[in-house]
């Protein structure tokens, strides 16, 4: 589509490969998630155009961009949740789609029917389904892992509460507990910060930073360029194609923001860099 975008993206990936942050130890591409030439078409519309990224563990990665930029689509396409995606996504040099047992994905809260007849405990235990054999009941270990996850997000008292009776922030914490219970290497969150309370936001970022410190991949779609942006180490700035990728300081330039958001950049965002 845009011929200028291609060399720019290739350049960025290379830049991270060769001259990226020195403090990062795991720089080999095998321990990274390598996305190459990822495109998504919905009928005639191209939602994502030729994305090339090398994502390293141990960094809190924020995926930013305006509405319709393809942020959620990028996350879903990476995990093979979208049928019309082309390109490749590899992890440890094998397709990521074949290693989904190492992934926890938390969808947008608005995509879930919260009137579903389930309790908090039921939802957290869903995180253990993949770790449990077919036709088998959950093991004692699974129950312990789930209980610990629930406690970590401060929701252990709500264990038997129907999920429909929780506040938005509490629902998000239950989903976070489910993701923790999956014990994955790669965490993907779609808009986890939308409409949550201050307490939940603190818990969420605390856990994100812990996971990152433990060398996990944490990818977070966020649409808000507000003050929470300061929590992220790396940013992926999208607008159908990749506008910029790198450390927060590198990405948050007036030029990049202008290219992603057009004239509608919030001034505060520029200052957050």
């Amino acid at each position: 589509m845009n011929p200028i975008a291609l060399p720019f993206q290739a350049n960025l990936v290379q830049q991270l490969n060769v001259s990226g942050q020195v403090e990062q130890t795991c720089m080999s591409s095998s321990a990274s998630i390598a996305i190459s030439q990822l495109s998504v078409r919905y009928r005639a519309v191209e939602a994502l155009h030729n994305i090339n990224l090398l994502i390293r563990p141990g960094r809190l990665v924020g995926i930013f961009g305006p509405n319709g930029a393809g942020k959620s689509t990028l996350l879903k396409a990476m995990l093979g949740l979208i049928p019309n995606a082309s390109g490749s996504v590899t992890y440890h040099n094998k397709p990521l789609m074949q290693q989904l047992d190492k992934v926890a994905y938390v969808p947008q809260r608005s995509q879930i029917d919260w009137s579903y007849p389930a309790t908090v405990w039921d939802v957290v235990m869903m995180g253990r389904v993949q770790k449990t054999d077919w036709f088998r009941r959950f093991s004692v270990i699974s129950r312990r892992v789930a209980a610990a996850a629930l406690e970590r997000v401060g929701m252990e008292k709500y264990r038997d509460r129907p999920i429909g009776q929780l506040s938005g922030g509490q629902q998000q914490r239950v989903f976070l507990a489910r993701a923790l219970a999956q014990e994955p290497e790669i965490f993907c969150f779609d808009e986890p910060l939308a409409g949550i309370d201050q307490k939940t936001q603190e818990v969420v970022f605390e856990i994100f930073h812990e996971l990152v410190a433990a060398g996990k991949f944490v990818l977070v779609v966020n649409h808000d360029l507000g003050e929470t942006i300061a929590h992220f180490d790396d940013l992926i700035l999208l607008n159908q194609s990749l506008v910029a990728y790198g450390s927060r300081q590198q990405v948050l330039t007036q030029e990049n923001l202008y290219r992603a958001y057009g004239g509608r950049v919030l001034f505060a965002a520029g200052e957050a860099a």
Partner: protein
């Protein structure tokens, strides 16, 4: 009093009906709970109307009508999925198109067959639980056992999938397989229920018991268990109504289950219209609900 209910059971045909009533009430409620939580009630309607042509064709070529009906039910869900995937038509429109077309074809075929054969269209449309044969009892029992075993064995996977399909897929569960399995269960359940409630009203036995239970309890397995109780009670009551008043069994069963739903809607401890705090005000209940409806629109 008890005499009146126990005496008919001395007839063998009534014993057969009772067995089928219990089984159908049970599996419809269990499988129907999945339809309700996925907001796929219309799909249940679509499959049940679509089994008719398969049934008619099987009858024509002398095959087992249950198998014919089952194949038609599965083909219709595939047709719906195909239309949705390959055209800009939305799912509900695709369902409406497929099920009315199949239903029309089924009625036409059965009407043609009826001219030279002893086959009563009404029995398939509205059910005739008092006329189930011995082989039909066995077939129903076999299908019920299969359905229940699958639901018990795949309970945790189906719970995850029906609550959060994307999350389940991203965790590596074979969601296409689970979805297809669920469609097979629904088609099997509808085929097994065809004789007792009929294809037009089977939807009520699939959805209403689960929906009634949903007003009373808050976990899926509880919805299934309470729903099964409601379904079994309704289909047995319907069977007796059919016996004493010479009614088609389908409408009799559906009237009972709908009555139970209304009771739960009004008196459920957690969601009941009459048990909610605002009912205490002096205003008449009917007037308050009417005002609420107008304000909401």
């Amino acid at each position: 009093m008890w005499e009146a209910f126990l005496e008919p059971l001395s007839y063998e045909f009534m014993q057969r009906s009772l067995i089928v009533a219990v089984l159908v009430g049970l599996i419809c409620a269990v499988v129907g709970s999945y339809l309700m939580v996925q907001r796929l009630a219309l799909l249940g309607d679509a499959i049940s109307h679509s089994v008719l042509p398969g049934l008619a064709i099987a009858f024509m070529i002398g095959a087992n009508i249950f198998i014919g009906a089952f194949i038609a039910g599965v083909l219709s869900t595939m047709a719906i999925a195909w239309i949705r995937a390959r055209s800009p038509i939305k799912e509900d429109a695709a369902m409406g198109i497929v099920f009315s077309a199949c239903f029309a074809l089924g009625i036409t075929l059965i009407t043609l067959i009826q001219r030279d054969n002893k086959i009563d269209l009404n029995h398939f449309l509205f059910g005739n639980i008092l006329a189930v044969s011995r082989p039909e009892v066995w077939q129903t029992a076999l299908i019920s056992a299969l359905v229940l075993v699958v639901v018990v064995l795949l309970y945790k996977e189906l719970l995850f999938y029906t609550f959060d399909p994307l999350g389940a897929q991203a965790a590596g569960l074979p969601t296409n397989l689970l979805n297809f399995g669920l469609m097979l269960l629904i088609a099997l359940t509808i085929v097994a229920s065809m004789k007792s409630v009929g294809v037009i009203l089977v939807l009520a036995l699939l959805i209403t018991p689960g929906a009634t239970a949903y007003l009373l309890v808050s976990r899926l397995h509880q919805v299934m268990i309470i729903g099964a109780g409601i379904g079994i009670f309704s289909s047995i009551s319907g069977m007796y109504l059919s016996y004493f008043f010479n009614l088609p069994s389908g409408p009799a069963i559906v009237l009972v289950v709908s009555g139970l739903f209304v009771l739960a809607l009004l008196f459920s401890p957690t969601h009941g219209v009459l048990t909610q705090p605002q009912a205490k005000s002096g205003e008449s209940m009917v007037w308050r609900e009417l005002k609420g409806l107008i304000r909401r629109h």
